[in-house]
Amino acid sequence: MAKILIKGGRVISPAQKLDDICDVLIEKGKVTAIGRDLEAQGAEVVDADGKIVTPGLVDIHVHLRDPGLEYKEDIASGTLSAVTGGFSSIACMPNTEPVNDNQSVTNYILNKVKEEGHCRVFPIASITKGLQGESMTEMGELKGLGVHGVSDDGKPVSNAQLMRRAMEYAKPFGITIVTHAEDLELVGSGVMNEGPVSTELGLKGIPWVAEDAATAREIMLAEFTGAHLHVAHVSTKGSIDLVRQAKKRGVNVTCEATPHHFTLTDEAVRGYDTNAKMNPPLRSAEDREAVRQGIADGTVDAIATDHAPHHIDEKNVEFSIAMNGIVGLETALPLSLQLVEDGLINLPKAVALLTCGPAAALGIPAGQLEEGGVADVTVIDPELEWTVDAQQLVSKSKNTPFDGWKMKGAALFTIVGGKIAYQR
């Protein structure tokens, strides 16, 4: 295996409280040295002058669609999309066909990753068997395979008693419950945020209370049971505030926000653009501002993309019937760096939100950069300007609202286990 010497970059690893201009030496899949003026015979030298060197980025909310929906994405294309975006570790959601609620599917994913994957994949299993919302997945057995979190993402667990029991059951196994919080009755047949824009467009709206009422319930159950709750894709002012207050009370809760929720609002739906349709929907300017504030004050622990590939036939239809979701792995980094440009957070904070923050929230071994640790490293050029071309995305699916956007910042190298998995 090659030796890689990354020279002269600004090495930022918030988990290690590291922020310094120094070199990183990688040998045999591990980081063997971090320091000044390192030398290594026969090493491939990466000139990182003016660049940022971080732990390999971590995205804990990705839909790989494999098994069963490979026409949208599969493990090979999804992990390639990940490393292109600078991610060395991702967690994949279980709403596949079949659902990942058992050893067979988890093992299938882990094996396929070994054969064709470009980065580390941490499968998230479902909370309920078959995502039916009726009885629990055998979490104990799956923990043994390396599953650290469970989620029925795509759907809420509507039955509060079942969610309570799932939390109580998961807790001794140290499993994180990741909730997709929405009240389905309040959502009704809504297709976008309920507000002046939905009124104007004549589209049925999803009111913010559909998310907040459900988030409140989950937080109370977490407080009651003591389980670790992670709230997925927080999109409203109310939910951010609920998490903020819960943390103050000492509840074991974390949350994530997607780049589209801290960048766009429901105004993006004008023109009936189906690439602005996802669940939870793009919200009001006030909600976006609250998400950004939550990122700034530490309420939000992680940036996670909710990468949701869909085939062109599923998006190239009338807005009301288009599928929910957008891809995000290849645009997350520049959108996150934009928060630093905007003065909302500093660079180490942005790195934390993309590395140790998500890793800790889900409870997976990732997001570290230390001597003796695994060599998952991303080298970023924060000044590189490029334009998003949806058709050129590595993902099989091209459903992005950022087509044509000028971005600043990109991964130059994504190193996984000491091997260069992606080079720009």
Partner: protein
């Protein structure tokens, strides 16, 4: 000709001048509908496809008759007897229709944004005959034409629209049309049917009490309460709806004595409007329908690009 729109997708994109051109053109075409031979050669040789994916009596007939009186070849397809029932997408349906070289596609569809969707994908003109809860431009235009006839003006009129505002495309188009023409709109409906931000769409004031909404207005427009949509979540009963939001011989007196009563149809007699009022002297409901043909003739003519009306 200064009407420059290739499509009629909604009133939102129109200017006051556009609306005046349409209304004046409709006035000119209206005369044809009273002739013995109701035919002019204006759109001879043009092909118009009326693609109706939702049930319709008035709008559909109106567009068909409008096209035929202008000598166009009009063909109707309805969703329920088309290959849409076999799962064919709207895009494929449109592209296949377009391959037969129509000049205009008139579309009514249950999904808001469908005419825009079509306009992005076909080369011919697209006319919106009603899309979901979004817009119904020809309805608003015929409504305003009717008001203009009976009141000699639009500017300064107080127009009350009562009903399920949330799900009404007629309301939205009327708000745009009336606001651009200088009228004032008052909206009223049950608390469950007033959508957020509706006041932002134009010169609108929202009322929760119908008696306040219709006090001293020049025009009362009643909307159909759509029972197939309602179940018992939005409303406790039609009885209660009729009591608090229905127009009857008693509360109609709250408006000006010469106020006109309008309804886009179809009516639920005894629910949003009592038969006495619906058939009474103040109603102009059938004038609306008559004007609908003229307005649609105007719209088809104006998007066709044909130089002259040839009405003589």
């Amino acid at each position: 000709m200064s009407f420059k729109h290739k499509h009629i997708l909604g009133i939102e994109q129109m200017s006051k001048e556009d609306i005046e051109i349409i209304l004046d053109t409709a006035d000119a075409f209206k005369e044809i509908n009273a002739r013995d031979i109701k035919k002019v050669p204006t759109l001879r040789g043009k092909t118009i496809i009326n693609a109706f994916f939702e049930a319709s009596t008035r709008t559909r007939l109106s567009f068909e008759i409008a096209g035929k009186r202008l000598s166009a070849d009009t063909v109707n397809i309805s969703g329920s007897t088309s290959s849409v029932v076999k799962g064919e997408t709207l895009e494929d349906t449109a592209k296949n229709i377009e391959a037969m070289a129509p000049d205009i596609i008139v579309i009514r569809h249950g999904h808001s944004g469908s005419p825009h969707y079509l306009a992005e994908r076909v080369g011919c003109s697209v006319v919106n005959a009603g899309d979901g809860a979004h817009e119904h431009p020809s309805q608003a235009l015929l409504d305003v034409m009717t008001m203009r006839e009976h009141k000699d003006r639009i500017e300064g009129l107080e127009v009350a629209i009562i009903g399920d505002i949330t799900h009404s495309r007629v309301v939205r188009s009327n708000i745009y049309c009336l606001s651009k023409m200088g009228a004032k709109v008052r909206l009223c409906g049950p608390g469950t049917m007033l959508p957020p931000g509706i006041e932002k769409l134009g010169n609108v004031k929202v009322y929760t009490d119908m008696r306040d909404a219709i006090k001293d207005v020049d025009v009362i427009m009643m909307l159909r309460i759509q029972m197939e949509r309602q179940s018992n979540i939005m409303l406790p009963s039609l009885r209660e709806y009729a009591r608090f939001y229905g127009l009857n011989p008693t509360n109609v007196k709250l408006a000006k004595s010469d106020a006109i009563v309008m309804h886009p149809g179809p009516m639920n007699r005894g629910v949003e409007i009592s038969s006495v009022v619906a058939d009474g002297v103040q109603n102009v409901i059938l004038d609306q329908v008559e004007n609908g043909v003229a307005v649609r003739m105007a719209l088809l003519y104006l998007v066709s690009g044909v130089e002259s009306m040839q009405t003589s």
